[in-house]
């Protein structure tokens, strides 16, 4: 940006904002030396003859794979009626991108994931999440090879059907690594409006699918439990899935120890124990954003389903004190990493969990 370039007040303010932000990001000590050392170390030297051979071998394998793919594509093509489609995949993608840039219609559309299993493909409806076409399409153009596989009518809309398969590492732009959102993407694009009516994401394993949608949600703003955090935000380890999580143990007495099982299955897995939950703040712990939840548990007698003990002779009966605690939940993984009892009756202690469930 040249000095003479006239910026609007808003642009000028944004420039200043970034300057301020950047000035607060301290340069790591000795970064330049580490970079030079790493780049010029013998192990990171420019390609040697041996590495050259490896590159050649890799190229040969890639060429063979491409040839095999071409043959496969020809076989598929021979069986697919492409007579009506004279538009290239790139042209359709450009139209979609342009369309969503200009009009930005319906940012989110329903998306379904296919999780192939031993029994065959299973369509998993995920209505609570969507995919942002304005992000997906540029991603597809960057990381995938896209082909028109045919034309279909979907809910009365004439559509092109596009199939995208990830580019190999050698085909990607410099510095980019193959980390596409899914193994394959299928897209139904309206011929007239260029709107995307359907997206199918294919994953080779259910874990990939789950990881993908864990990345898409939850919403950016924290909201109180139990609405936002799903009961099992990450796949629990086998030992926690089978058998079913045990019923909620009683809140521990002073001097207790908390096990991950109690923390996860006992506390957050059974929210009937929780009387009140609020997100009180966000904190960064170990460089990860955490939601700090304030939990008020039901009083001990109520939890155990017993009558509260009678008050001492002469004393006024008083309700048993609630048990209060703060819980640190990793905003990204939803794992509980730390708990702290705040009520004096519960010991007032805290514990840092080395590893949460699912890790």
């Amino acid at each position: 940006m040249s000095q003479s370039e006239k910026l609007s007040p808003l642009e000028e303010r944004i420039r200043l904002y970034y300057q301020e932000e950047a000035s607060r990001i301290p340069m790591p000590q000795g970064l330049s030396q580490r970079i030079v050392g790493k780049a010029t170390s013998p192990s990171a030297e420019k390609p040697t003859r041996r590495r050259g051979f490896r590159l050649f071998a890799r190229g040969a394998i890639a060429a063979a794979a491409t040839a095999a793919l071409l043959v496969a594509a020809l076989v598929v093509w021979a069986n697919v009626d492409l007579g009506a489609s004279t538009v290239s995949a790139e042209e359709i993608m450009q139209r979609v991108e342009q369309n969503y840039q200009e009009g930005d219609p319906a940012g989110d559309i329903p998306v379904f994931g296919n999780a192939p299993s031993a029994q065959g493909p299973v369509e998993v409806p995920l209505p609570s999440y969507g995919v942002d076409v304005t992000e997906l399409v540029p991603n597809m153009r960057e990381l995938y090879r896209v082909n028109v596989t045919g034309e279909e009518t979907l809910d009365g809309h004439d559509c092109y059907v596009l199939l995208a398969t990830p580019l190999g590492k050698d085909e990607l732009p410099e510095g980019l690594e193959p980390s596409p959102p899914a193994d394959q993407i299928e897209l139904w694009v309206d011929k007239e409006t260029n709107l995307v009516h359907r997206v199918l994401l294919y994953f080779s394993t259910p874990e990939e699918l789950e990881a993908h949608f864990a990345n898409m949600g939850p919403p950016a703003e924290p909201a109180p439990l139990p609405i936002d955090l799903p009961p099992e935000p990450l796949p629990a380890p086998e030992e926690m899935r089978q058998p079913e999580p045990p019923p909620l143990p009683a809140p521990p007495p002073p001097g207790f120890t908390i096990t991950p099982e109690l923390t996860y299955a006992g506390l957050l897995g059974d929210l009937s124990a929780v009387h009140e939950v609020t997100v009180v703040r966000e904190e960064t712990v170990d460089n990860r954003i955490h939601y700090v939840l304030s939990l008020v548990l039901k009083p001990l007698p109520e939890l155990e389903g017993v009558e509260p003990p009678p008050p001492p002779e002469g004393a006024e009966p008083s309700p048993p004190p609630p048990i209060e605690m703060e819980v640190w939940v990793d905003a990204e993984s939803s794992l509980v990493t730390e708990m702290q009892f705040t009520a004096p009756d519960a010991g007032g202690g805290g514990i840092i969990l080395d590893s949460g469930p699912g890790q």
Partner: protein, 198 residues
């Protein structure tokens, strides 16, 4: 032999001949910009450091591919941004913008604002930028932080120039919509009175 304040293109030619001192000068010159750009994209100091290290290693290895008539700054940032986006996708980093505060806090740096109004304004802009979609944030960072031109941004992000322009335009429009009208009015007022404080 590389000398201080030598122009980029001369340093590149020296690098292409294997001059490590010339490479060190390029690193000294561009590592801060590269690191902060990466940090603004990935919102994580250690990951940004990894990104920059890997990007410069790639640049050193691929220096032969660099054409002297191009912008070295844009070429380096292209590698940095590509690495940063790859890391972001791979590590499932949050797409919402956090802030330099988290990185600064992790590094133990204090955050100081001149006045409450300035702090509020800064906070409002951060919030509004954080609500932008990822592609808009990328283009904003490259335009207003790295101060690249539209053609340079197009090269860095691999988009067409028209796409860069339209995304910049839409990002600014969205920011205007997200910021309160009073904020926009005060910015104009500030501007009329002698520009944004430096």
């Amino acid at each position: 032999m590389a000398q201080d304040h030598q122009p980029d293109d001369e340093l590149v030619i020296l690098c292409q001949k294997g001059d490590q001192e010339a490479f060190r000068q390029l690193v000294d010159r561009y590592a801060p910009l590269a690191y902060r750009t990466a940090a603004l994209i990935v919102n994580d100091g250690p990951i940004a450091e990894d990104v920059v290290q890997e990007a410069f290693v790639l640049a050193w290895r691929g220096m032969d591919k660099f054409k002297p008539y191009g912008s070295l700054r844009a070429w380096l940032l292209r590698i940095v941004v590509n690495r940063a986006l790859s890391q972001k996708r791979r590590k499932l980093l949050p797409t919402v913008a956090t802030s330099s505060d988290q990185i600064a806090a992790a590094e133990g740096s204090a955050v100081v604002h001149d006045s409450l109004e300035q702090w509020e304004l800064h906070h409002l802009i951060r919030q509004a930028l954080g609500e932008l979609r990822e592609s808009y944030r990328q283009v904003m960072i490259l335009r207003y932080f790295a101060e690249l031109s539209v053609p340079e941004i197009a090269k860095v992000l691999g988009w067409r120039q028209g796409t860069v322009k339209s995304r910049l335009h839409r990002a600014l429009s969205e920011l205007r919509e997200r910021l309160e009208p009073e904020v926009i009015a005060s910015l104009h007022e500030e501007y009329r009175e002698g520009g944004v404080p430096q």
